[in-house]
């Protein structure tokens, strides 16, 4: 998995190499290093390192090792790549609880509804809407689409899924 670490280094030669010794210990490999000079205070400069690491356990070990060796860790964590999925929904949406239920369901599955647009051309005419959610992985996306599908069936709405 991909992770990121923000740690404070003293702006003197050899500091970075020392910090990176911990990486070898936990089988992490560096992808990129960025000195955040804009946030420099005295001779202390924050450095952001992106790296690959086998699992969460190794990441925890890395954090402990860094702190034990006296590094100031500002943040450390897995990088989550969110993908955005948009589905279309057509039907009599307004006046039902369909959307509230969809948002709750998607939320429960660990995805996050981040956008909603609707067109209502006239009273008694079917509305058209787009619902966009962010999801961490394929499984979460598939589950969310399947739950939205069930709710569309329950409320007699047409669901338009993206082609995979």
């Amino acid at each position: 998995m991909k992770a990121s670490l923000k740690v404070i280094l003293r702006d003197t030669p050899g500091q970075l190499r020392k910090a990176l010794e911990v990486f070898e210990n936990v089988n992490a490999n560096v992808i990129s290093v960025m000195h955040v000079h804009g946030e420099k205070v005295g001779d202390e400069v924050p450095v952001e390192i992106i790296f690959g690491i086998p699992d969460r356990e190794a990441l925890q070990r890395m954090e402990i090792l860094l702190r034990e060796s006296g590094w100031k860790v500002l943040s450390i964590g897995k990088i989550v790549q969110l993908s955005r999925i948009t589905v279309g929904i057509i039907g009599h949406i307004i006046g039902t609880k369909s959307f509230e239920e969809m948002i709750t369901k998607v939320d429960e599955l660990g995805a996050n509804v981040c956008d909603f647009s609707i067109r209502m051309p006239a009273k008694n005419i079917e509305s058209s809407a787009l619902l966009t959610f962010e999801s961490e992985n394929n499984e979460c996306t598939e589950n969310a689409i399947s739950e939205i599908g069930k709710l569309c069936e329950k409320y007699g709405l047409l669901l338009i899924k993206p082609v995979s």
Binding site: V87, G88, R119, L158, I160, V163
Partner: protein, 342 residues
Amino acid sequence: MRKVWSSPNQTGELMSVRVLILGVGTVGKGVLKTILGKPEFSVCGIASSKGYIYSENGLGQEALKQMAAGKKMSDAADFKQGSAMELVKEKEYDVLIELTTTDIKNAEPAFSYMGEALVRGKHLVTSNKGPLALHFHELDSLAKKNECMMRFEATVGGAIPIFSTIRDYLADEKVGSVKGILNGTTNYILSRMFEERIPYATVLKEAQDRGIAEKDPSYDVEGIDAAAKLAIIGASVFGKKNAYSEVKRTGITHVTPEILELAAQRNYRIKLICSADSKGMEVSPRFVGLSDPLASISGTTNAVTIETGSAGPLTLVGRGAGQNETAAAVIADLVNIEKNTR
């Protein structure tokens, strides 16, 4: 594979492959026109719903030409009233070309014609979706058991060589999925709704006036035609047993101009997509991103994307119906059989 009648005659010439053509409608006439210019084939019988004409040594070129041009078969001197089954069951021929009307409820009588021909060891070419969508595996095992070839390129995607690409070109590849736009009428309607921002009912009327949609459009707009085609893909490529009844199907009748517009703002088009993989088959309106080649398929054009292991996705685009296009697919199958069985 069973050899066709190919022994040289007394003068040493190779004799032609004898074909029986059932159905002389739009496609049948197109096939007749092309076949007449090919001396390696001889048409020994043709049949409509009312009767047939047959001659063991091949029907006269002039009579066939006239029929291809629209002359009624029943006006021919040797026309016999009766069922096409009499020809299929009792007469001599090498290849049956089955081009009769599609019936998606029970596939008859075409299914019986095809079954009977295969049992008799005759090769089969067809453009008729019904029997293959409903009974693919029965026909396929009959063909194998009797060492016959069964070819059905014209049933899906008109002139687009979907099955021959998978069977021949991709013979060594594992096909992961097939998805495509396989119904011209619905693609025309969705394209026009998008371009003109007009409602479904208005475009449907326009399509009916232009002869692109039938008076009763349900076969197309409810996704039935697309589902039948997808079932043939599901059965032949992914081994689905009850393919047609397993297809999840949603038509386009509820698609609105507003959803097309909202989708366009996010760089999507909406297309009636047929998709099949080992997990299942579905026909439904879907969002297609602009970077997908299927997004730019407009009007009555068809397209199909075959997802392969190492060759990646291959997209084939072409005319999905029409006399010449469908006839071209039938002839390609016939030539393929001829090459493989001489």
